[in-house]
Point group: C2
Chain length 388, copies 2
């Protein structure tokens, strides 16, 4: 399943007769359609032919400058990429040599594993609990890898409303994670597509921000930050960015040049035109996803057996269910789809296997009626399997 999982998921979500909690799709009913239409028109008027011409690899200057200002860093430390996925791919290409030890959460974002795979890393999994990465266990792993002469090269983490689990790393763990990786000389790649979409609890500093405080120098920060406009505005424009120290950005520019010369010019300009509406748009998405998450949590309590454990996300698009060990969520999927509900079995999110009784559900792109009907169908599926 691993290699083509995302693709197959995107296909299932296109079947209109299935209520799909499988996709990682932002809600299209929240897309600011008329704003995008006006933004495209405005960009073509403002920039004329330059909006459709080749442009610089680094990205559209006003967009880089805005991102940099938000982060309080120079624009030179920002690289625009064609979706976060491209950032992960290029960073994999730059940072991972064959056999390099890459630490990943268990479970982690499937698309990152797919991006890194061509560069042949040796994955080492970090144990996680309801609070995300177990940093004490991590210290043991870092020590052991160093002692074995195979020190970790890169640590990949999603601290906010993680994909697939919806879990959030506490401030204390963030500080420890940044400290430990710095101490052991491990590059820390922070993937943060959902950070803006918090609907409950207090915002926490990014690992990047903590790394910056620690190093005191934007060009000596060992944390690399990746984020995107896909989840806050719209995904189909494929506009995202990477923040990093100058030596990494300068290699990233070269890698990006070989990969696609530059991110589409018009798309960067459209996003730039949309920046004034971004705060209100984020509020709309937060409110809607918060409501959908609450409905799904309520429906889980109503329909799933009490043995099913689940996360209550503070933001983002996903939650994670762990069924009793004797159930296999891949085996259950055909029965669920027969009942017209779909989820993603958890197994592909584990770099080294396992997770057979877990599943990821996305509530972002589901109406209240779909959540009620879909979770009832899922409950039937699970209860039926438990009774067998």
């Amino acid at each position: 399943m691993q290699s083509s999982a995302i693709r197959e998921i995107l296909k299932i979500t296109q079947r209109p007769d299935v209520i799909s909690f499988a996709g990682g799709l932002p809600a299209p009913d929240l897309f600011p359609m008329e704003d995008v239409r006006r933004a495209a028109d405005a960009a073509l008027t403002r920039y004329g032919a330059a909006a459709l011409q080749y442009s610089t690899t680094e990205g559209h200057p006003p967009l880089r400058e805005w991102i940099a200002a938000q982060a309080g860093i120079p624009a030179g430390n920002v690289q625009i990429v064609t979706g976060s996925q491209q950032g992960l791919d290029l960073l994999g290409k730059l940072l991972i040599g064959e056999g390099d030890v890459v630490l990943v959460e268990a479970p982690t974002y499937l698309g990152a594993l797919q991006s890194f795979q061509p560069y042949l890393p040796q994955y080492v999994e970090m144990p996680t609990d309801g609070g995300g990465i177990d940093v004490e266990a991590l210290e043991g792993i870092l020590k052991a890898q160093q002692a074995a002469g195979r020190p970790a090269r890169l640590l990949y983490a999603i601290p906010n409303f993680q994909n697939p689990t919806g879990r959030t790393l506490s401030l204390e763990r963030r500080e420890r994670l940044v400290e430990l990786t710095a101490e052991y000389g491990v590059l820390l790649l922070e993937d943060d597509p959902y950070g803006q979409l918090r609907f409950t609890g207090e915002a926490l500093p990014s690992l990047y921000e903590l790394g910056l405080r620690r190093s005191g120098d934007v060009d000596r920060n060992h944390v690399i930050y990746s984020s995107s406009f896909s989840k806050t505005l719209v995904p189909g424009l494929r506009d995202a960015w990477v923040q990093a120290a100058a030596p990494i950005i300068s290699k990233l520019i070269q890698a990006k040049q070989g990969a696609d010369l530059h991110t589409p010019t018009l798309n960067q300009m459209i996003v730039t035109e949309l920046l004034p509406i971004l705060p209100a748009q984020i509020e709309r998405v937060r409110a809607a996803y918060g409501e959908r998450a609450r409905l799904m949590v309520t429906a889980i309590r109503e329909h799933l057996p009490p043995e099913a454990e689940f996360t209550e996300p503070q933001g983002g698009m996903f939650l994670w269910i762990t069924l009793p060990e004797r159930l296999d969520t891949e085996a259950l999927l055909p029965g669920a789809v027969e009942r017209r509900v779909a989820y993603v079995p958890g197994r592909p999110f584990f770099a080294l296997g396992g997770g057979h009784s877990t599943m990821r559900l996305s509530y972002s792109n589901a109406s209240p009626a779909q959540i009620a009907a879909g979770m009832a169908a899922l409950g039937e599926t699970v209860r039926g399997a438990l009774e067998e």
Copy 2:
């Protein structure tokens, strides 16, 4: 220079006081601005939120189908990519292992060398003359590589109005090239961004078409074809495609998924909306580039010393000048820029070095007045150097 050459070139072309023949920029004065504006609007209306949502990795179905119909092949043999550059990068990733022998023209497209480089090929150069690849010399190379136990894996060629030379491969050479590569088990990657932009002479069949005739089976064609809407419509949308046998396409889909999930959705829909105006647009571009090429050839005859050899392109955007051996075009460039004209020194286009006395000129994005003034300045530069 090699690694950041394109980027630096793009920067020089942005200086308004320099007449630049250096860029490979299509003429923005020919961009169908109002058609693009209407197409963006129409795509948003026709597809609604789907125009801004994630979409399938393979590409927008109507666009794939149109491309496939033009080539007389099934849509399943077409993969949409984010600019030709991405196609080259992904094909490099799939097809080139460390140390694999890759045959390239001398000179060849610099961006292809940059795309392939991360996969650590061993380049072997094919000698060229005014008619492109010397196929008799190629046969000797293929034999020698095979005898040495290092058979070539991939041959990269630009048969139409090559970048950087503007040369076109004859039908006879095309047939021999397809035959030889098939015979020696070498994959043939045909890069054809300019093929539609022929302004003189007769259109010749693509290598892909000849490969298809030879194999009689779209899924056993050893020729892989890459082309783009960048030179016919506009480059800033980054819409291009690859045609290949199913086993290659299926790996390409996986590689693309890891690289950027999919090409921006809206952009593919905009291009699809523009397909009805494409024939008229191609006619406009052909007529304009044909006129500009003729003016530049005339200006070369007028201003450059008779020792300067040059190509007379039948299409595309480039021509190639070879100065007497004792001149070095990298050394001449600062003097040329002082006289407010820019070109690209030829050296970076050679995978294995050489070409110190060559230069690439692009006429696509230059007015008659710029061609006259720029070529006079270039003539002064060259004549001055010859007199030293």
